[in-house]
Every structure is written in C-alpha cells, then in structure tokens.
Symmetry: C2
Subunit: 253 residues, 2 copies
DNA sequence: CTCAATTTGTTCGTATGTATG
DNA sequence: ACATACATACGAACAAATTGA
C-alpha cells in the first residue's frame, strides 16, 4: 500500500516538476480545507507523513513550514503540529449562465481601464458567430473587489456603437451599456467557459503565478442584423469563481 | 519595458516555485496553442527570448528542449527553431447546464467502478440541500474515453432506491438510472462547479499531476418528499471540459 | 523524580537540479 | 563547456520539549 503511494508521488512529481515539499504542502492544505483536519486538531506526526509520502523528514518539515507561514498550523516541539484555522473559501463570484442575471451581476461594476500598447488584436470569431463589424473599439480592463483584481477583460465593441457613447463604455462594463441602450437590439448572446492557465500578461494583471488556473470566458453578442457587436475574452482568477446551476429550472439563476 | 518584464517573471517565479525553464516553456507552448506561432513558423531566436524573459541562454534552451520532446518544435542549427505542430485542443466535453441535456449526455456512459477501501464518507450536504436519507450506497467510478480516464466520480445514492436495482446502478451512470426510474420523482436538482486542484487520489485516478487544475462538480438531487436521493462529487480533468451557454435562451443547450 | 516514549527541532554530508555568466 | 551559486531532496544522527508510567 505504501509502495503504491510512493510511486504515486514520484509519478506526480515527474508530471509537474513542482518541488516535492510544495506538493506535500498542497495535499495537507487540502485536508485542512476540506475539513478532514479541523481547527485545534493535531495533524499526523512528521514520522507518519514521512512514511505516507515516502519523503525525507526535512521535506515534510519544509512543507509544514509553508503552512505555518500561511497561518494554517502551529508547531510545538514535543507535542505535535496543530491546525489553527482553515484557509477561507473564496468562491464568492457566481458566474451567471443567463442574460438577465449576468447583466444584473455586472451593472454596478466599475472597470479599471488599462492602456493598450500597440495595435489592438482582432476579435477571435468563428464563422458561426455572425458577421463581423467593420471596425471594433478595443479596451482592456480589470475588475477589482476590495482593491484586489479578480478578472481581466479584453473587449471588442462595434466601433459605430462605441462612438455614440464612448464615455459610457469606459466608465461602465461594456455589456451593461449595450444592454441598456435603446438603439441596440440584441438577437443572440453566447458564452463559453474553459479552464485555462494564466499567461504572462494575465499573471501580471491579476497578481497570479504564471500558469495559475483561470476561468476563461469568451462572450459573443450579435444584434438583429446578424452583426457581432461585442466580443469579450474575460479571464477570471480560478480560485474565486463558481457556477451554481439549477438543473431543472435552468435560466432562472 | 524589459525591466518590467524581468520583474514580472521573477514575481511569478516567487509565486509558483515552478522552475524558470518550465515557465518559459509554458509561455511558448501557449503561443503555439493560441496560433500566434503557426506550424512552419520560425519562433523567436534564443537571443530574443533571453532578452524578453531576462533569463540565461541555457534556460531558454532547456525550455525549448521540453517543447521539442513534446513534438511541438524542431531546432536546426544555424537556421532557428520551427513550429512543427500545435498541441491538440481537447475541450471536447461540453458540461451540461440543464437536466435533459445532462441526462442525454451521460445516458450511454459506462462507469468503471473502483473498489472502496474503508468506510465510505458521508455525503457533503448543507442544510439547504434537503433532508438526508437514512442510508446511502456509495460508489467510486471512472469515466473514460478511448481508454483514457477523464472524470472521477464519488456518488451517494439513497440506499433504499439503490437496493431496488443494484445492478443498474453499477452498470450505468447513477443519475441516468434515477432519471429513468418510474418510482423516483425528482423535485429538485442542483449542481455547482468550481475550479479545483487534483488531490492525491484524483491525480492517481486520472493520471494527472498532483495539483493539476480540475473542474469539480457537486450535484444534489432531491425527490418530491424533500429527501436527498443523490449526491455526487465529480472531478473532471481541467483540460478537457468546456461550458457552452446560450445566454438568451438558457436551458436549451 | 526519573525514565522512557513520543514528537518536533537541528545539523551534517551528499547528490542532483536549476540558473547564471 | 566550465565554474559558481543556490535550491531541492535524501538519510541519519542527535537535541530539546512534552507526556505519562
């Protein structure tokens, strides 16, 4: 049984190249997070952990020191290592799966517009999406909460529409501006999400590690003429988002 | 500008502890994946990459060697490094956001049941979910595609219901069995998704690196008595899933 | 109070991996 | 290819604090 587990850790090490002590810390942190070890509990001894993960004592200690610096555990010589608290669950951002709730959730958001250097990229479109507009206005912006950025948006808006209210589009989220304008009639709106990894620009913008997990939204809005009036790529921190889906009454959440 | 970027990479290095050459390789792989460098293209020279990432030449070479071993690039002395192919996009699994499409998508799936050692865990429930059943049958299983596992399910089914057709529940996905049984009347079904990281058991089951990004589904089904008859925690490989959401006609996709 | 068992803390030497110039 | 520095990981031994017999 232990042999198996040893091989596991070696395998996963080969697959990730993450230092062993970081991996061990991640596993232990997970056990605290899921409540298997509660505040006040004594966690396994160094010796047990050594055997479980088949790593050296020093490696286990490095892992536990990481957790200690995070304030999750406290170590006491001769007694053991004790859980002092659980990492907070930060999945506060419920991603919307329906138009009205989406607009509702972003209507008061204030985007922090970032400067765009160089030529703006073309919007990522597939033929299915609709007819591209002749020109697009391009904006990069951050969404923040309590000063902390959590989403990085790259938005294309039909230039003709943008020019009618440029200030609105810079002060509010572009989508909520579109939704409230009488001169735009939205016929289709489609969104996809995938799990991605932070590239350099995103990592810098959101204060994440390069390659940290993200949720990548790709949103396309088409008006009644069949013209794509809005294309957005929005990258969310992976550790703050969640989907809540009512399977039987979808569209109300 | 370069100074900024240098600091960026140092920052992200501090945040992740992933070796620099792996991070550089990740960025370059990303550029190939998103099509910025297409098959046949010559990528930046070592010198350009050195300057861009502010790392030593050897570090860049280590990164490119990784990509070469993956079959993404080919190096030719005196000429440069050329893209030979893009990593395939594997987001083939469209996660359902509505009951009928969910059942449709899993009705022909065959779960590979895994042995359960030790006492089965209690289902993770919050008071809101409903009244727990007196007993639950517990099953762990893998979903595979072309022999490769992509999802790891831990399922609780009301023991009373399970006992009426134990074989069905082991040969087919529990949810589709529930959906087709006349003696079960489903009143509510709720699902949440978060982005998680593979723990040891999951990494082993899905052949992932420890801590690799995953999509974690938590699904709760309640019958007309208000009893929770089904609770599932399903962990998907993060690199194969996607959500497709029609915002204006939610519930049809 | 002493002794032994348990548990974390510390140190050494060695080997390998990572990164620089 | 080389010299250098630092991080990671191992195994083993020993030290120090705690507990209970």
């Amino acid at each position: 049984m232990n042999k198996k587990q040893a091989q596991r850790l070696a395998d996963t090490y080969e697959r990730s190249r993450t230092p062993l002590y970081v991996q061990v810390a991640d596993v232990l942190r997970g056990r605290i997070q899921e409540g298997r070890w509660q505040a006040g509990d004594k966690i396994s001894t160094l010796e047990e952990l050594e055997k479980e993960f088949e790593v050296a004592r020093v490696t286990v200690r490095q892992a536990i020191m990481l957790l200690q610096r995070e304030g999750l555990v406290q170590r006491r010589q001769g007694k053991g290592t004790f859980v002092t608290g659980a990492p907070p669950d930060n999945r506060w951002l419920k991603l919307a799966t329906e138009w009205n709730s989406l607009i509702e959730s972003i209507k008061d958001n204030i985007p922090h517009v970032l400067p765009q250097e160089g030529a703006p990229p073309k919007p990522r479109l597939v033929v299915d999406d609709g007819m591209p507009a002749t020109n697009y206005a391009y904006m990069k912006s951050l969404q923040t909460r309590e000063g902390e950025p959590y989403a990085f948006a790259r938005v294309h808006v039909d230039q003709a529409i943008f020019d009618r209210a440029p200030k609105s589009f810079l002060n509010r989220t572009a989508l909520s501006v579109l939704a409230t304008r009488q001169d735009v009639h939205i016929a289709r709106a489609h969104q996809t999400f995938v799990i991605g990894a932070a590239d350099m620009e995103t990592a810098q913008a959101l204060g994440l590690a390069l390659n940290a997990p993200t949720a990548e939204a790709h949103c396309v809005v088409v008006d009644e003429r069949g013209v794509v009036v809005y294309v957005a790529d929005i990258t969310y921190r992976g550790d703050c988002v969640r989907f809540d889906i009512d399977l039987l009454h979808a569209g109300t959440g």
